[in-house]
Amino acid sequence: MKPSVNRKNRWIAAALVLPGVLFVVFFMLIPLFSLCLTSFFPDELFSLSSYFSLFGDVYFQQVFVRSLRLSLLSTAVCALLGFPTAYYIAKHSRHKGMMMAFAVFPMFTSPVIRSFSWMVILGKKGIVNSALVSLGIFAKPQGLLYNEFSMTVGFVQLFLPLMILSLIGVMDHIPDDLSEAAGSLGATKLGAFFHVVFPLSISGLVTGSVLVFTGCMTAYTTPQLLGGTDTRVLATMIYQYAMSLRDWTQASVVAVVMIVVTMMISGVFNALSRKINPMA
C-alpha cells in the first residue's frame, strides 16, 4: 500500500508548510496587494496620476536618485571590502569559525545602537575629528555627520556581514586544486585569482550584492539617524508621507516604486553575473 502512504506523507508535508504559507499570505501578500491597489486608485478610480505627479516632482527625483546612488555605492564598498575578507577567511584562515564569528559580530547589536555609535565616532567632538584636528590635517572639526558620507558608512557597517557570509558560502566550495591547476598552466597567483576564483565567486557576490542593495534601499533607522533633513531617501520619505503628512496614497506609491526598482536592480546584478560566469 505504498501509494497511500506517499499520499499521506504529501498531506503531512503540505501541513508542515501551511502555517508559514498562511502567515506570508495574510501578512505580506495581501497587504502588498492592497498597497499596490491604493497606489493605483488614489480617488476610488483607477489612475496613474499619483505616479505621474510623483515622477514630475523634483524633490522626489532627488530623493530617488540619492537612494539609488547611496545603495549602489554602499553595495560597491561592501563588495570591495568583503571580497578580500571573505577570500582570506575561506581560503587562508586557520581559525575559520572564529573569523566568521567576528565578521557577523556587528549583527548582534541593533541598527539603532550602531547608528548612535557612529554619531559618537563621527561627531564634531568624536574621535575621527579629534584625530584629524590634532594631526593638523584640518584646522577645525569637519561636518562628518548627517550627510551622505555618514549614511554610506552606516550602511556599509550594517550590511558588510551579509556580503562576507554570502561570499564565504560560495568560496568554500571552490576546490583548491583549481588554483593549483591554473598555476601549473602558467597563471600567476593574481592571474589564477582573476581567471578562476573570481568568476566562480560571482554567484556569492550577486547574492551578497542583492542582499546589501535591498537592505540599503529599505533601511530606515540608519538614514533617519545618520542622515540629515536634506539627505532623505525613499524609506524616510515614505515615513514622512505616511506619518507626518498622512498621505497614504503617496506613501504607497513611493513604496511600490521602491519595490519595483529594487527588484529590477537585483535582476541586473543577476544578468551581469551570468555574463561573467555562464554556469553560475
Binding site: P175, D177, L178, E180, A181, A182, G183, S184, L185, G186, A187, T188, G191, H195, V196, P199, L200, N277, P278, M279, A280
Partner: protein, 345 residues
Amino acid sequence: MALLELKGITAGYGQNVILRDFNLNVERGEFVSLLGSSGCGKTTTLRLIAGFSEPMQGTISFDGRDYTHVPLHKRNFGFVFQSYALFPHMTVFDNVAFGLKMRKLDKAVIQRDVMQMLKLVDLEGFENRYPREMSGGQRQRVALARAMVIKPDLMLFDEPLSNLDAKLRVKMRVEIRRIQQELGFTAIYVTHDQEECFAISDKVAIMNKGLIEQMDAPSTIYNSPNTEFIARFVGFENFFELTRMQSGGFAAADGTAIRVADQKPGERFKGCIRPEDVQVRPAGEKGPNAIPGEVMVSTFLGRHNQLNVKTAIGEFVVSADQTQAFPIGTAVTLVLTENKIKLIG
C-alpha cells in the same frame, strides 16, 4: 645527468614529516611511476616536483638548473589531477586554451594548438561543451589535453584514472601511454594500482614510509623484488628462512634441503614464492623441495582453491586445482618450484 633530480629532500606539513632524505632521478623521455599505499609520500613527492609546495630541505634540479624555489607558474610542467580540476565556468576549448592564453600566444596559434590537442585525445566537436556536460572519461581527456597543450617539459599525473570505472581505466592507460610515446614527453605517474603502473611505465619506484624501496623496470620488480615489502606487494605470499649449507645448497629452518635456482651472495636469506608456484601433491610424495603439510583452511576463489597449509617451516598459502576438494585436516605434500623461489637479503 638525469633530467630531474631530487636530492636529500625532506618534506611534510608542520610537525608531520612525510619524506626524509628522499632521492629520485628521472631520465629524459622516461615514464616513471611512483607506486605505494596511501600515506607513503608519493603524492607529496609529485606536488613538490610540480611546485605546489616547497621542500624543508634538499634540492630539486631540472635539466641542470636548480628548480627548488622556481615558482609553480614558471616551471612549465603539466599536471593532471585526480579530480581533473577542470575550470567549471569555461568550455572545453577555454579549459584547454588556458595555458596558451597565459603564455599570451597569438589567437590563431591557440586555435590551432587546441584543436590539434582535442583531436589527439579524441574530443573533436566537444570544444563548446562545459565540463559538467561530459562523462568522467571525457573530462579526464580534457584534463590531459589541457596539461599537454602547453608542451610541458615534464608531465605529472596524480592518480588520474582512479575516478573511472575499471574498463575505462584500462582503455585510458593505454591511451596515455600511446600519447606519451607519440609526443615523447617525460612523465611521472602516481598510483596505488600495481597493474596500472606496470602496464604504463618504463620504470616503477615502489615507495614505503617516505622512501623508495626499489626502482626498476616493471618486469624486474615483478620477478626480482629486493625486499620483503616489495615481494609482498607484487604477490609473494610465502616467506621462509633459508641458510646456505657448506655444500653450497640451502637448508630451511628445520634442516630440510631446498633447491634454489636464484643466486645471491650471502649466508642467510628469506626465500619467497608465489602461491601459484607451489604445487599441491598427495601426502607421502618424495622428491626435491617436497614438504609435508596439513590443510588448515580451504577457500574457493573461482579459478582455484586457496589453501592455507601448515608445514614444519611455516604456513604456506597455495593455489590448488578447484575441482579437487581439500577438506580441513587433509595431509598433502607441497613442492616448491625450484626456479620460482626468490632470495631476499
